[in-house]
């Protein structure tokens, strides 16, 4: 129990730090969002001072002291009020995020779980058949594939499968004439649109798990308890799964949650390339437009997501690995 409490406490502290970080970073640099918006609106044409004034009044750019901004910020977070997006005024930030969240959640969730499973299984096989041709192929192959910049893969997929072959749509989360709804037709359409972005991530995603699992399992297979399991005459399956893989998978579980942060970042690239209506694309847009409220809320959501995933992984690890419960207690 102590273990779970400690992890929860860490979660809360980290959450606070992340919340504060999110507040601080955007304010470290000068710059006026209203001007940025007008600048974007007018492109390279002359910026009309009247327009800037109008925008600034409308957006209510804060000019109070930092401390009171911070208190207001914390207060509104507690109320679930993340403010109004500058870019999409007058739509509130929560509206924008709630529109984008499901896309990213599904995209990242599905690709990560698949990547993890594929990688772990392949890594386990490679370790079991250590130094076989399969092992060399899988480890070297995953080294190489894992090195591919996945925005580059995304570009190639986009060109080959969408532009040239025309098998998949080149952008968007759904067809132009389909309005999101809870229906099989829409789900099918959304999956169809999600295949290329998912594929871009899935090509590289398993590589890390393969290597991690292989190395862990090579180690666990060399441990005395695995040798003893063999000596006990247990079936190959039992030795490989309950002794080799069962222990080897534990570090990967922790790694899974940690990797999530990186992956969520990576989706920024993929979502931008495929114009996929998720959090990553929204983040890039908010950054470009200096949309403070939207950006802050996005960071917060992404960070909370990652923190929650970590907490879950910690709990899962606590269930899977009897040792950590004890150590922390």
């Amino acid at each position: 129990m102590r273990y779970f409490l400690r992890r929860t406490a860490f979660f809360v502290i980290t959450l606070w730090a992340a919340v504060t970080l999110n507040f601080v970073i955007p304010r470290l640099q000068p710059g006026d969002p209203a001007e940025a918006i007008v600048g974007q609106l007018t492109g390279q044409g002359p910026v009309d001072p009247d327009q800037i004034r109008a925008v600034r009044l409308m957006l209510g750019v804060p000019d109070t002291s930092l401390l009171s901004q911070y208190w207001d910020y914390l207060g509104s977070l507690v109320r679930g009020d993340f403010g109004i997006s500058y870019t999409y005024f007058p739509y509130p930030v929560t509206h924008m995020i709630s529109e984008a969240l499901p896309w990213t959640l599904v995209l990242v969730g599905v690709t990560q779980v698949l990547g993890f499973l594929i990688g772990t299984v392949l890594g386990a096989f490679a370790a079991w058949r250590r130094n076989s041709r399969f092992d060399s192929f899988v480890t070297l192959g995953s080294q190489f594939v894992g090195s591919l910049p996945f925005f580059w893969i995304a570009l190639l997929l986009l060109y080959l499968l969408a532009f040239l072959a025309g098998w998949f749509p080149d952008s968007g989360g759904h067809a132009v004439d389909v309005t999101p709804s809870w229906s099989w037709a829409f789900a099918g359409d959304a999956i169809y649109h999600g295949i290329l972005p998912a594929l871009s991530i899935l090509v590289t995603a398993p590589a890390g798990w393969i290597i991690g699992m292989r190395n862990n399992m090579v180690q666990s297979l060399g441990e005395d308890y695995t040798r003893l399991a063999r000596a006990k005459g247990l079936s190959v399956r039992r030795v490989a799964l309950a002794y080799g893989a069962r222990v080897a998978i534990l570090p990967n579980v922790t790694g899974f949650a940690l990797a999530l942060g990186g992956i969520l970042g990576g989706t920024v690239l993929v979502e931008t390339i495929f114009d996929y209506p998720g959090l990553g694309r929204l983040l890039m847009e908010a950054v470009g437009a200096r949309d403070y409220p939207l950006m802050q809320a996005l960071f917060l959501f992404i960070t909370i997501g990652v923190l929650l995933a970590n907490l879950l992984a910690d709990f899962l690890l606590g269930v899977l690995d009897p040792r950590v419960r004890k150590e922390a207690a």
Binding site: Y225, L228, K232, L234, R323, K326
Partner: protein, 589 residues
């Protein structure tokens, strides 16, 4: 027909980038059903490799390169895993060396019994649970522990579980590979007693692999001695004939005797990646003949056993030139240099506190060795830390003359450390692997004696000479030294600042049996030549008897008995001291 028939078995470790190591060389032996055979040898002699080969558990890069293993009439040398499986555990089981790691950390004890029963029997869950409980009771563990995970058990319990597991299917042969290494003497003894009892009851054969001569001699019907990958002797426990076996035996003695003498075997084992003609022991043998260097002696019957030696049939080797003799001697009175009075030390970790040292008092005097005897956890290492100022006592005082060691800080502490130096237990951990002997030894000279780099270097040769090393060793790195040589360097470092007190924390326990006496002799010489006060920390009453003038027996942080060494040993009063004495192996010589 024998249960196990090993013929001409060789095992090599072949890695791509270095020459193969021939760990087991043409070993042949057999075991009868129900026989208890001890396989004795020092670390690196190939005994564990041999045991693993018999179990067919060798992993790459180790490989059987020749010979056959017949078990119960079947040649198992080349059987594949599937063919081996029916044999495994039903007929042939094992207990591994490190009890810490031989149980799966994420499975409960019960689960580790269950998967084995499921594989080999048709027992129902209920039957399995009952049988598991029975087995645990057999090794004196409460059956309720079956729901626990390995990390919740103590080392001794884990090893008992491993033993219960090994005996679960009533196998014909159990290979016990150093089953008690790392456990306390008392626990060791009780586990070995269990093994012996169960073996008598159930009649399985045991191959007991151990470096601990005492244990083997006590338990085994027959002893096989391995040296450098070969079996050099095999005979019923008792007097041994091979010079190496005799050397090993010589390192044991009865501490109660008036005069105790122990021998050591100079030199180190040969390089196993090379084949050499003749006897592998020739370089260290005190009675070697010219032909020993050229002609490999066969394992041939001599007396009631077999010996591979040209000399043994005719001559009983002794190691008179490498013997350390200790008789009872008068202890000179001297004023105390360090006085420990009523120290307490309690560690608190995550809300549980452990009293490591409880009201301990003693004094160290020049020219005298005080031994602190106890098992691991008795608080003896904590006392060493208190004396060197690495830890502070909660209460009580440590006075060095009029210097209150328990209150020293910073520079004063550094000054004090010039006078109190430590000899560490593990010579492999005590020397920084990236620094040469010279670099290591020059530091205390510079820091404590304030010598210039040049003067310090000039002093080094005489320093290493005092510990019996040639100046050439100065430019070596630790990994280029043997265990004994390392320990000499450690001693030299401790001597460098010319301390008045030397604290030796189990300085020989990590060394091979055959060279322990060598270090004991060195320490004894230094104490008397340099008129040092020494605190000798050990778990081993024999070495305490060899070195110490007086002894304190420590149990759970408290001194249970103290006095002149010979008195305490001959006339033990405290039950704990008696237990320690009981656990002391005393093989016939």
């Amino acid at each position: 027909m024998s249960l196990l028939e090993v013929a001409d078995l060789s095992v090599a470790y072949a890695t791509k980038n270095s020459p193969p190591t021939h760990a087991v060389r043409n070993v042949s032996f057999s075991m009868a059903e129900g026989e208890c055979v001890g396989l004795l040898g020092e670390s690196g002699c190939g005994k564990s490799t041999l045991g693993t080969a018999l179990l067919r558990l060798l992993d790459r890069p180790a490989r059987i390169t020749g010979g056959t293993i017949r078990f119960d009439g079947t040649d198992i040398t080349a059987l594949d895993e599937n063919a081996l499986r029916p044999l495994r555990w039903r007929a042939l089981s094992t207990v591994f060396q490190s009890s810490m790691n031989s149980l799966n950390p994420v499975l409960t004890v019960e689960a580790q019994f269950r998967d084995m029963f499921r594989t080999h029997t048709d027992m129902t869950s209920g039957e399995i649970r009952r049988r598991t409980a029975e087995l645990l009771e057999m090794v004196l563990i409460d059956p309720s522990y079956m729901r626990f995970h390995p990390h919740e058990l103590s080392g001794g319990m884990k090893q008992r579980v491993a033993l219960a597991l090994a005996l679960a299917l009533r196998p014909k042969l159990v290979v016990l590979d150093e089953p008690t290494t790392g456990l306390d003497v008392v626990v060791q003894k009780s586990i070995m007693d269990s093994v012996r009892t169960l073996q008598r009851e159930q009649g399985f054969a045991v191959l007991l692999i151990s470096h601990d001569l005492g244990t083997v001699m006590e338990i085994a019907d027959r002893v096989m001695v391995m040296y450098a990958g070969s079996v050099v002797e095999s005979r019923p426990a008792g007097e041994m004939l091979h010079p190496y076996s005799r050397g090993l035996l010589g390192s044991y003695a009865d501490p109660r005797a008036e005069t105790v003498d122990v021998t050591y075997i100079p030199g180190r084992p040969p390089d196993l990646s090379r084949f050499q003609d003749g006897c592998l022991f020739v370089d260290r043998c005190p009675v070697a003949l010219p032909k020993c260097a050229t002609e490999k002696p066969p394992l041939a019957p001599v007396g009631d056993g077999l010996v591979a030696c040209h000399v043994a049939p005719s001559t009983k080797a002794d190691f008179a030139d490498s013997t350390f003799v200790r008789s009872v001697r008068a202890v000179a009175e001297a004023p105390p240099v360090l006085e420990v009075t009523g120290v307490h030390k309690t560690y608190t970790r995550r809300r549980t506190s452990v009293t490591a040292v409880d009201d301990v008092s003693f004094a160290l005097r020049r020219g005298r060795v005080t031994a602190l005897v106890g098992q691991s956890g008795s608080g003896k290492s904590t006392i060493a830390k208190l004396l060197t100022g690495i830890e502070r006592p909660d209460t009580g005082t440590v006075m060095f003359g009029d210097v209150p060691v328990h209150r020293l800080r910073g520079r004063a502490m550094r000054r004090y450390r010039k006078d109190v130096q430590l000899v560490f237990q593990d010579p492999f951990a005590a020397l920084n692997p990236v620094r040469t002997v010279r670099q290591t030894l020059v530091r205390p000279l510079r820091n404590h004696l304030g010598l210039s780099e040049k003067d310090a270097r000039a002093r080094l040769e005489s320093l290493v000479d005092t510990v019996g090393l040639a100046p050439a060793f100065l430019d070596r790195y630790p990994h280029q030294l043997s265990g004994g040589q390392r320990q000499r360097v450690v001693v030299a470092r401790a001597l460098a600042p010319e301390p008045s007190i030397l604290i030796a924390d189990e300085p020989i326990s990590m060394l091979d049996v055959s060279i322990r006496a060598e270090i004991v002799e060195l320490l004894d010489r230094l104490v008397h030549h340099r008129d040092l006060a020494m605190l000798y920390i050990t778990h081993d009453l024999l070495s305490a008897r060899l070195l110490a003038d007086e002894v304190l027996v420590l149990n759970k942080g408290t001194v249970v008995e103290d006095g002149p060494t010979i008195e305490v040993i001959r006339n033990a009063q405290a039950p704990y001291t008696k237990l320690l004495l009981d656990a002391l192996p005393n093989p016939p010589r």
